[in-house]
């Protein structure tokens, strides 16, 4: 699994959890507003992403990249963010493989728990 998939998975899971809907029903190509996430919600969720990624992100990230797919692509391809190095809590510039254990969880729930440590 690559970084884009990992970020997509985290976002799907996070949004499913926050909105109380099943992760399977969320399509990464749909605008997030379709799931009832309003403009201010999508600003505050960036704060959670910052914690998870250990990187400072533009708060309007999900305004400018309004689908999960677009946001993940932007983060990896343009911002150079990699979710694997979150343990360092430092902004990361080099893309590398996510931790092995992160890929073992079945479904995104297990992945999120392992990565976020919560």
């Amino acid at each position: 699994m690559n970084s884009i998939d990992t970020i997509q998975g985290w976002l799907v899971n996070q949004i499913a959890k926050q909105l109380g809907i099943k992760a399977e029903t969320i399509k990464v190509t749909e605008p997030l507003t379709r799931y009832g996430l309003d403009s201010i919600d999508s600003v505050t969720i960036v704060g959670d992403m910052e914690d998870w990624l250990g990187a400072e992100l533009p708060s309007t990230l999900l305004w400018d990249y309004p689908t999960i797919e677009k946001a993940a692509k932007y983060l990896v391809d343009e911002a150079g963010v990699s979710p694997a190095e979150t343990a360092t809590a430092e902004p990361v510039a080099v893309t590398s493989k996510p931790k092995e254990e992160a890929t073992q969880g079945k479904g995104w729930g297990g992945l999120w728990n392992k990565i976020s440590g919560s």
């Binding site: 909105l19 009832g36 309003d38 403009s39 919600d41 914690d51 309007t60 305004w63």
Partner: protein, 602 residues
């Protein structure tokens, strides 16, 4: 002269406006009541203010004006508002110009600056719509792209100064697909568009601020050139939200002006009115009511000065600070006005019997402040969405970079310190880096402990301050636990419990602001301020919202607070931690003979 420069404009304006109790002076209570009775726009007052060149203080120096800092601004808006909120609000709609100072091109800044200075121009804000209220993204106003500009279609309502403004800041949809980037903001210069394509809706009859030019604007296939767009296409919502961060914080100044008059005119009544062989003021219950109102004003003062200066020192945190102040200060001071009405008895409801009936006008006018520019619910919502992040960042920042934190707090709260220039580009939609005000509580407690060696301080007072500040910290920890355990929700159907948590956050924030204000200004705001009884009483008052009174330290003697309130009343000074000089009252001289006796009795 007042040593603190940021109060010079307010004092000069006061002096020139004269005693509001003198019917002949500009913005006298009689004049503003007469206008209100007729529901007439206060044009003469507005003209006078333009002639005084007050509009220059709405324009930053780099854009050709005199504005340099928000704490100065807050002080002179208090002056306007203590006399008449109708005129104060009408004149201060000019502060929407900050949208242009933040996001405009040099040419747009130049146009607006000369419109305000040379043409006595004003502007209005056309954001909300009848069908959508606070839901800005739900708006129906369209801006359809055409060659060289846009075609505007739709209706905005309600708008203060809709008909008299030469410039309307209009939020309209440029992307029919919707979403947070679908709105753009336009600086519509009415003189440059075809008058056949826009019109005004009828004046709205309101509960208070009755002379306001309040209506709506309707655009019908109205062409506007591209040069009227502020910022890039799709920036509208972001600019609107950042603009609100500024104006919401400044709304506190309207409330503080109103609360000053409500207290002052009630105090005048209480000192002069005799019942049961005593003055009303001699009776413990009315005196306590007035003293508590004075304390509430001082509490709000600390928050308002804090956010005013915070714009310069920590703009990236203002999304939280301004929501706190817009909620806390406006609703607290609304309660102050209501509370002191009891002392006036039936007079509060009468339109002629006391000081031309200014109290009932204040009561009516002031009730809009917590509603406009984002209601209390909107502000608490903005805050509750951030609570979880604030809690996390507080844990993450604990014990780190303490020197930098202390330096930021000192610059923010020490009123004698110079402020760095405000940079609007540093505003953030959500708080970045935590909330210094609550982060600094441990530092504050450490500073308070050191004061135990200060022989000038009453040990009992200091004990109360330390104990109560520690309670603030405990309650913050309790709140953090509650926030962490709460289920976070999106959307607009949040649990009422989350709103309660946001309210508690505001109270703790206000308490911390009081503590820093005292710590950092003890040496230069006079003896009353330095002694700190007001702080001990204020903290107790704030914490009684969170804990039963029996679990708090007992209320200390408040006679010094009573005396200070009477002193400020007698000397015509603002009820404030910085009691700057107001216009000298001619009528009050007859009452000063009676008041030394009052001071001795208290």
């Amino acid at each position: 002269m007042q040593p603190l420069k940021q109060f010079w404009v307010a004092e000069a304006l006061e002096k020139d406006l004269g005693d509001p109790g003198n019917p002949e002076s500009m913005m006298s209570f009689k004049q503003v009541i007469d206008l209100d009775e007729k529901e007439e726009f206060p044009q003469e007052i507005i003209d006078w203010l333009y002639n005084w060149k007050l509009q220059h203080y709405y324009i930053p120096t780099e854009c050709g004006g005199e504005f340099t800092r928000f704490d100065e601004f807050i002080s002179f808006v208090r002056v306007l508002s203590r006399r008449d909120q109708t005129a104060g609000i009408a004149f201060t709609t000019m502060f929407w110009s900050y949208l242009v100072w933040m996001a405009g091109t040099d040419e747009q800044k130049q146009i607006l600056s000369s419109f305000m200075k040379d043409a006595n121009g004003t502007m209005c804000l056309a954001y909300s719509e009848k069908a959508h209220g606070s839901d800005l993204l739900g708006g129906d106003m369209q801006a359809t792209k055409v060659d060289g500009g846009y075609i505007l279609n739709g209706e905005k309502w309600p708008i203060n100064r809709a008909t008299r403004s030469g410039v309307a800041f209009v939020l309209a949809r440029t992307d029919p697909d919707g979403g947070p980037r679908s709105l753009s903001l336009f600086m519509v210069e009415k003189s440059k568009i075809n008058p056949d394509n826009f019109s005004n809706l009828p004046k709205i009859l309101t509960h208070g601020i009755r002379g306001s030019d309040m209506s709506g604007i309707c655009f019908d296939n109205c062409f506007i050139p591209e040069s009227m767009r502020l910022g890039a296409e799709g920036m509208g919502l972001e600019l609107a939200l950042k603009g609100f961060q500024i104006t919401r914080a400044l709304c506190a100044a309207f409330s503080q002006g109103a609360a000053d008059t409500a207290l002052r005119t009630t105090l005048k009544f209480a000192i002069e009115r005799k019942l049961y062989g005593k003055t009303v003021f001699d009776m413990p219950q009315p005196r306590r009511t007035l003293t508590d109102a004075f304390l509430d004003i001082l509490i709000c003062d600390c928050s308002t000065f804090g956010v005013g200066r915070g714009f310069s020192t920590m703009p990236e945190q203002i999304s939280v600070w301004s929501a706190v102040v817009k909620y806390f200060v406006t609703t607290t001071l609304e309660t102050v006005v209501n509370n002191v009405s009891v002392v006036l008895g039936s007079r509060f409801y009468m339109r002629e019997a006391h000081d031309w009936g200014i109290f009932q006008k204040v009561l009516r006018d002031n009730s809009i402040i917590s509603m406009f520019d984002g209601s209390s619910v909107v502000n608490l919502h903005a805050l509750l969405l951030q609570l979880r992040q604030l809690t996390k960042s507080r844990a993450r920042n604990a014990g780190k970079n303490l020197e930098a934190l202390e330096a930021r707090l000192a610059t923010t709260f020490d009123l004698t310190q110079n402020l760095p220039a405000f940079n609007g580009k540093k505003l953030e939609l959500v708080n970045r880096g935590g909330d210094d005000v609550l982060q600094g509580l441990d530092l504050a407690l450490a500073s308070l402990e050191k004061l135990k060696t200060d022989s000038n301080l009453n040990p009992d007072t200091l004990y109360q301050i330390i104990t109560l500040t520690d309670i603030v910290r405990e309650e913050l920890n309790n709140l953090d636990v509650k926030i962490t355990e709460s289920t976070f929700q999106f959307g607009h159907e949040q649990d009422p419990e989350l709103f309660d948590m946001a309210k508690q956050y505001c109270i703790l924030h206000a308490a911390a602001a009081c503590v820093y204000t005292w710590i950092y200004n003890r040496n230069h705001l006079g003896e009353f301020f330095a002694n700190g009884e007001w702080l001990a009483l204020s903290l107790r008052r704030l914490m009684s919202n969170l804990r039963p009174a029996t679990s708090l330290p007992g209320r200390i003697d408040d006679s010094c607070v009573v005396q200070e309130m009477i002193r400020l009343y007698n000397e015509d000074r603002m009820f404030s931690i910085v009691p700057f000089q107001l216009a000298k009252s001619q009528l009050q001289e007859t009452t000063t003979d009676a008041t030394p006796k009052l001071q001795l009795q208290t």
